[in-house]
Structure formats: structure tokens, C-alpha cells
């Protein structure tokens, strides 16, 4: 076992900071990405992919085996979940086909359970036919609490309300031309639903509502409970002080639904007249049905003149509250139409189902000018001076904006307001409201593309300064480091994607002080540091000019690579593929490990990774360690070897 671990870095594809035999503190960088499969490398060689930079520590792992059974009793299918048992953790079989992960809880209170029974921290993983709920209060001892199964697939996104009581999952139609299964012809092509699941009892999730959205459902969704919005004419007597809104990314936008003569937009907002109390499973059907109404309340699609052409397609909506303007916003990924910041602060009193005037766009970022004048015009700071042909050229790592994640808070020189004030640099002053130094507190939104294949590039992670959301501008960009070797043996300045999405960026999350985490499918999870961007920009006139944006910058700041981690089964199990029963033959998107779909950052300093075949990994990078939340790994390879 130990030999395998040491030998893995030398075996081809996977690279690490390889330990130097002479100096234990220095490591030689070995590129972890190999595009070409040959006698020296197989993408299916799990041990060749068990690698990480030395600052990444595996804290815990769960293969998401619930109770040893693949499916629940028939009466629970698509209706209710079933409790799981600790003794099945990391035993076979491993269900697999995992996708998005969401986490919620009182992390900064270390997931304390309060006197009224609230509190705690939980992770929710969508897994095609099912989703799982885990207790992650102790990152080094995560526990699977329950599994909800639905024979009708496919659940690929999952969100949860901040009170950890309600889960929203999609059932998206798949195998359509828009979103094919790359590696499968499974006839189970899903449905077109959003399902609301009550998870107040984490061991017994139960479905309480479902809505259809023909023809394909939603590809992604987010939600927010408004407790500061009051409809003038309440449409339901049971509405209390809070109101649930859903934000769906419709994979078949107006061109499809126009068949009915109605042109709905790509980003669709719904007001769910959910009477949470009324949906209580203990109520009868009549009471529950009265609580399930959902109303189309708004819609957004970029106006054509605000693009420079290409494919205008809504892939994802991420809700956030801007830390300066306090606007409730969506960071929307619109493929060729780039990043869109949409203001959903104040839902209108009357539904605007066609999105004629709500929600409005606050700002946008694309690499090309999208106006004749102003911030987005040729001389404006809100683009990267690219011709439309360049911006829409995926081969240069552009276009295809697939995921956007904004920071939750402001950062200044690698610190945030969560850091002790005595550690703040002088030029951060007293904080974001400092009379002199407030400008040094910045807000960034990170966006990245996705490519099925790309002969030249794997794509950039773009850092967009969104401190003023009406004037976003580019400050940094990053790609997977290293060169590639082409089939003819020549070197190529970028890594590339031979097919099957293999090294494409996918989903990401942010840390508190400028760290950014992103999954790259088979290239694993990468951590980059964006905390010092404002210090490292080179400005034309020697001082920051955010009101001129990109035009005032002569050199973008670097996004610093801190490390990577490639999940490849638990280190303490000698042959996880067989021991845990990894399904390496009938995979949804890929039968490779790793193939990382999503991740979430626990502000206590841990990254929760959803690997598509093998399960959930808890990883801590040394740079994120916080002594207040000391959860060392409880496993050791040596112990298991013995």
C-alpha cells in the first residue's frame, strides 16, 4: 500500500509536488494532467490518480452506501427516503453517479446544536437517481443520515434552504441534444420536474410537492426565502412573513416554449406560495395540495444588443447578496453572453411571467464590447478589448461561461472581516467602511467555461471585480498550469480536452479570504489564491482607477496556484475499486476516477468534494487550517496496513 502511494506520482498521468529525496521540504512540481492515453498512462488507473499537493490532506471520505441496498422498498420510490446506518460507511456497494453538493449550517459556531434543537451542519448530494443527506458537523467523521431514491432520474442539482428544512432537487430530462449523456444511452432519460422535499427529519426525507416544467425541466436551480418582502395583496391567507422564490435555469429557453406563443426567458423566477406548515407531512392531502402553488413571477434573458453574438444560453443561476450594495442578486452564467448580474432584490407586486421588466440586469461581463459607448462600449472598462471573434473562440479558452460564483464577503490583501483585526494590513484600515482605505476592500466574482472537447485549451477561470456591480471589470485569469504533449510528441502551451469534458472546469466555490476552489473533472480539485489581486494589478498611471476598469490596467494580476487534490478512493483501503464496489462499467458521464462534479467550502477550512463515481471527500488545504476548528484525520494508512 505504502509502495503504491509512493509509486503513484511516478506512474504517468498524475503529478504532484513530488517529494525530493534529499530535501524533504522541497517538492518538484509534476503536472497532474496527461491528455493522451498510451502504454504509460491509463485514465482508468485509479492508483495512478491518487495524488495531491503536499498541502492537501484527506480528512474523511464516505462512499454514500446507505444500508447495503441499491434501491429502497418500492413503496418509498419517489415518495420518501430511508434512514442509513453508520456500519455501512465505506463498505460495498458504492451507488455512484454523484453530481452537485450543497452544504448548510452554523459552521462558524462549529455546528453547535442549540437549546431549541436547531443548528448543526449538513451536506446534500444529488446522485442521479437519489440524493443523500450527511451530517458534516464533524468533518473528520461525516455520517450518512438518509437516502432519498427516485427511479425516474435525473437529479443533478440540489439546493437547501438556510434552515436545513427544505431541499429543492431537479429532475431534468436528459439524453436530449442539448445535454446528452456523454457515455451512456440509458433509456431512463428523466423527467421535467422540480421536487420539494421536507428534510426536517434528516433520517426520513419526504416529498411534499412537485412542479413540471416542460419539456426538459431545469438544468440548475437556486432558491431564496425573502423575509423582507411583503406582497400588497397576499394571494394566500397562509402566507406568513417569509416567501420562497425559485430561480430556474431552463435548458430549453424561449425558442422552445414559444411553440405555445409564449416566449419565456432562460432565467425563470417562480414565487412558490408554499405554506411550509401546510406541507407538513402530517397534514392530509387536501391541506397539502392547497400549499403547493407555484407562480411564474419573472424572467430574464440578455437583450441581444448586450451581447456580441454567439450562443446565448442560461446554464446556471447562483443567488447571493452583494456585501456593499446589499442587493439580492443572481450571478448568471449565459454561455457566449458571459456573466450577468441580475437584481432580484424586490420582486414586483404583480407577476411578470414574461420578464418584461423584472428582474433587471445590473451589470455584465464579456470579453468583447457590447455597446456603442459607455462602460461596455469600445473604450469602456467593462470588457477585455476582444473582438467578438476572439471572445467567442473556445479554442482560446473563452466563451461557454458555464458557472459563476461570487464571494460572500469583501477581501483586502488576503484577509476578510472574519480574520482577527490585529492581523489586518495597514492599508486595509478599519474595514470596508474606512474613510481612506475602503477602496482596498474588493468583491470578486469568478466565472469559468465548460467544454466537451477543446483541441487547444481547458478554459480560463476569470476573476471579475464586482465591487461596483454596475461596473464589473476583469482583473485576473487563470488556467490549469503546465503544458501538454500532443500526439505527434510536440509540446503545446496549454492543456486541452480531447473529449468527454475530461479536464474542463465545472463548478466552484469561494473561501473567506480570497481562496477559490474549482472542480476540473478528471483533473481534480484546484485551489487558487485571489486575495492579493488588488495589490498585484499593474495600473497604467501607477494607482488604482476602478472607474476606468480594464482600460486602466496594463497587466492583470496573477491568480496564484496553491495546490490540487485528486480524489481516488480512501487511502486506507488497499483496493477500493473492488472492496467498495465502484461501478466502473455503467457510469453516467465517465468511468474514470476522479471525475469531480462539484464542491463546497466549509468556512471552518474544509472542502467537500463530490466525485462522480466514488463519493464524497473531505479535504483540508494547509492554508485553510483554523485552530478553532481542529478536526484532524482519524485514519492512517499505516494502521490499516498493519
Amino acid at each position: 500500500m505504502t509502495f503504491l502511494m509512493l509509486a503513484a506520482p511516478l506512474s504517468g498521468c498524475i503529478g504532484v509536488f513530488e517529494p525530493d529525496a534529499d530535501e524533504s521540504d522541497s517538492w518538484e512540481w509534476i503536472d497532474p494532467v496527461t491528455e493522451i492515453e498510451d502504454g504509460n498512462h491509463s485514465h482508468n488507473d485509479l492508483f495512478a490518480h491518487r495524488l495531491a499537493t503536499p498541502n492537501a490532506q484527506l480528512i474523511d471520505y464516505h462512499n454514500l452506501n446507505c444500508d447495503g441496498n441499491v434501491k429502497p422498498p418500492a413503496e418509498l420510490d419517489n415518495v420518501a427516503g430511508r434512514p442509513c446506518f453508520d456500519e455501512f460507511k465505506n463498505t460495498g456497494p458504492t451507488p455512484g453517479d454523484n453530481s452537485e453538493i450543497a452544504i448548510e449550517g452554523n459552521f462558524l459556531d462549529d455546528c453547535e446544536i442549540y437549546g431549541d434543537g436547531t443548528g448543526g451542519c449538513f451536506a446534500y448530494v444529488s446522485s442521479y437517481n437519489q440524493f443523500e443527506i450527511l451530517d458534516i458537523s464533524k468533518p473528520n467523521d461525516i455520517r450518512l443520515l438518509s437516502t432519498y431514491y427516485a427511479e425516474i432520474a435525473r437529479m443533478i442539482d440540489i439546493k437547501v434552504t438556510s434552515d436545513n428544512n427544505w431541499v429543492l432537487v431537479n429532475h431534468e430530462l436528459t439524453n436530449s441534444e442539448l445535454d446528452p449523456i456523454p457515455n451512456d444511452d440509458d433509456a431512463n432519460s428523466g423527467a421535467n420536474r422540480l421536487d420539494l422535499i421536507y428534510v426536517g427529519d434528516k433520517t426520513s426525507p419526504i416529498k411534499v410537492a412537485e412542479w413540471d416544467n416542460p419539456p426538459a425541466g431545469f438544468h440548475n436551480q437556486d432558491l431564496h426565502v425573502y423575509c423582507d418582502w411583503e406582497p400588497a395583496n397576499p394571494t394566500a391567507l397562509w402566507q406568513d412573513d417569509c416567501h420562497l422564490f425559485l430561480f430556474g435555469a431552463d435548458p430549453y429557453p424561449e425558442m422552445v416554449e414559444g411553440s405555445s406563443g409564449t416566449f419565456y426567458k432562460g432565467t425563470q423566477v417562480f414565487y412558490a406560495l408554499i405554506d411550509f406548515e401546510g406541507l407538513n407531512p402530517t397534514n392530509n392531502n387536501e391541506q397539502q395540495n392547497a400549499s403547493r402553488e407555484i407562480i411564474r413571477w419573472g424572467g430574464y434573458t440578455p437583450e441581444p444588443q448586450t451581447t456580441c453574438g454567439g450562443s446565448i444560453f442560461n446554464h446556471d443561476n447562483v443567488f447571493f447578496i452583494h456585501p456593499i450594495t446589499k442587493q439580492k442578486m443572481l450571478a448568471v452564467s449565459y454561455w457566449g453572453a458571459g456573466l450577468r448580474l441580475v437584481d432580484v432584490s424586490e420582486p414586483p407586486q404583480l407577476a411578470d411571467p414574461l420578464g418584461i421588466s423584472w428582474p433587471p440586469e445590473t451589470g455584465r461581463w464579456l470579453g468583447c464590447p457590447t455597446d456603442d459607448a459607455g462602460w461596455y462600449g469600445p473604450d469602456g472598462g467593462g470588457h477585455a478589448n476582444m473582438d467578438s471573434d476572439v471572445w467567442l473562440n473556445a479554442n482560446d479558452g473563452n466563451d461557454n461561461i458555464h458557472y459563476a460564483v461570487p464571494q460572500d464577503n469583501l477581501i483586502c490583501s488576503g484577509i476578510s472581516e472574519y480574520d482577527p483585526i490585529e492581523t489586518w494590513p495597514e492599508h486595509c484600515g478599519t474595514g470596508p467602511t474606512d474613510a481612506t482605505y475602503s477602496e482596498n476592500w474588493r468583491h470578486y466574482t469568478y466565472i469559468a467555461p465548460e467544454y466537451g472537447s477543446n483541441a487547444n485549451h481547458t478554459g480560463f477561470i476569470w476573476t471579475i471585480d464586482t465591487t461596483d456591480p454596475t461596473k464589473p471589470f476583469l482583473v485576473s485569469k487563470w488556467k490549469l498550469p503546465g503544458e501538454s504533449t500532443l500526439a505527434d510528441g510536440t509540446t503545446h502551451p496549454h492543456h486541452y480536452i480531447p473529449g468527454g469534458y475530461i479536464f474542463s472546469p465545472h463548478n466552484g466555490d469561494t473561501g473567506l479570504s480570497g481562496h477559490v476552489y474549482w472542480t476540473h473533472y478528471h483533473a481534480g480539485v484546484w485551489i487558487t489564491d485571489h486575495g492579493h489581486i488588488w495589490d498585484e494589478l499593474v495600473w497604467e498611471n501607477g494607482y488604482p482607477e476602478p472607474d476606468r476598469g480594464f482600460q486602466a490596467i496594463t497587466q492583470l494580476a496573477p491568480s496564484h496556484t496553491l495546490g490540487y487534490y485528486l480524489p481516488a478512493g480512501p487511502d486506507w483501503i488497499e483496493d477500493p475499486t473492488n472492496t467498495l464496489g465502484y461501478d466502473m462499467a455503467d457510469c453516467w458521464a465517465s468511468c474514470m476516477i476522479p471525475f469531480d462534479w462539484g464542491l463546497q467550502y466549509d468556512p471552518r477550512g474544509f472542502v467537500f468534494i463530490s466525485e462522480m463515481v466514488s463519493g464524497v471527500y473531505v479535504v483540508q488545504f494547509d492554508e485553510d487550517y483554523d485552530s478553532r476548528y481542529d478536526y484532524p484525520a482519524l485514519w492512517s494508512v499505516e494502521a490499516s496496513d498493519e
Binding site: 442539448l178 416542460p214 430549453y252 468583447c368
Partner: protein, 186 residues
């Protein structure tokens, strides 16, 4: 995870299988692109005057002459758009030279490279969906129905023939057995 696998040297589709061009005052964005058969091109006119688009190309069933006039920019209708679906039944992989005119005067040319669509689709959404250009694709396309009819008829004929042969053989066997029995009895 969204996209159709595609590599192209210039601006390229994918996502929604539509590719947009923005016709501004003095420019078209982008002014060249690579798309696939089966994609839809959408030309948005964002200025306050009409424009006319034309192209001529050799299709699979002869010459295709296409012309479309857009109205002035108007976000409440689709009159300011021109759409063309590159139906693989009619369009070959080729380069389209799309001419854009203002007041019958050639204003701009957009070159669109149509790549072969070798993507295999596993099936349309249930209930069908609206194709670009306004047509409604049924759950089963007419071509599919014709093909299915042919296959169904073939299957019926084959089954009938097999049944006839089986019956005939059984009858013949029975007839032979009867003759044999009669001969034995004799």
C-alpha cells in the same frame, strides 16, 4: 454538463444550438462563425431601420436561395430577427456567404462555416419541441413515421411469410405423416 462536442477554428456554437449575430450600427458581431448542421442562426437587428439578408448555396436538393427582412429593433416582437435553421436534410457542410443590405445596398458580409453534424442524438424531449423557425417537431417526426411504417410493413410481411412457411411445412409434414401411416397400415 452541457455542450455538444465540437471543435472549430473560429467562433463556435454550442449550448442552445442557436448562434446569434448582432447587427449594430456599424458592425456585425461576430462577422464569421463556425456552426454545425442542425443549428439555427439568429440575426438580431439592433438599429432603427430595416435590413435584408440573403444567401444562395448548393443544398442537398438543389440551390437554396434564402432571403429575410428584419424590421427595426423592437424588443416586444421578433420582427427584428431573422432565423434560419440549417436543416441537415437540406444543407451541406459548406461556407455560407450571408449578405446584409441596407436600403438595397450591400452593407456587410458574414461568412458562416457549416460543419458536418456527426452527433448522434438519443431522442427528442417527450412531447416534441419547437424547432427554430417556428415549426413544431412532433414526438415522432414524419420521416421517422415513414421509416417506421416501412419497417413495420416489412416486419409484418416477414412474419406473415414465416407463418405461411411454418403452416405449409406443418401441413406438408402432417400430410407426409398421414401418407406414411397409410402406407404402414397397408
Amino acid at each position: 454538463m452541457v455542450a455538444v462536442l465540437l471543435m472549430a477554428p473560429t467562433a463556435s456554437a454550442h449550448g442552445a444550438n442557436t448562434f446569434a449575430f448582432i447587427m449594430r450600427n456599424n458592425s456585425v458581431q461576430p462577422d464569421e462563425a463556425s456552426v454545425q448542421q442542425n443549428d439555427t442562426l439568429i440575426f438580431y437587428n439592433v438599429v432603427d431601420r430595416n435590413r435584408t439578408l440573403t444567401f444562395s448555396t448548393e443544398g442537398k436538393n438543389g440551390t437554396i436561395d434564402w432571403e429575410c427582412e428584419t424590421g427595426p429593433s423592437n424588443s416586444t416582437t421578433t420582427d427584428d430577427e431573422c432565423r434560419v435553421w440549417l436543416d441537415p436534410e437540406y444543407y451541406n457542410p459548406t461556407i455560407l456567404e450571408i449578405q446584409i443590405s441596407n436600403n438595397r445596398t450591400l452593407w456587410h458580409i458574414v461568412n458562416v462555416t457549416i460543419l458536418l453534424d456527426n452527433h448522434t442524438e438519443n431522442g427528442p424531449p417527450e412531447g416534441g419541441f419547437t424547432l427554430p423557425g417556428g415549426g413544431q417537431e412532433p414526438s415522432e417526426s414524419s420521416d421517422g413515421i415513414e421509416l417506421q411504417n416501412i419497417l413495420l410493413m416489412g416486419a409484418i410481411i416477414s412474419f406473415t411469410a414465416a407463418a405461411c412457411i411454418w403452416i405449409m411445412r406443418n401441413n406438408f409434414r402432417e400430410y407426409s405423416n398421414n401418407i406414411a401411416k397409410e402406407e404402414e397400415e397397408e
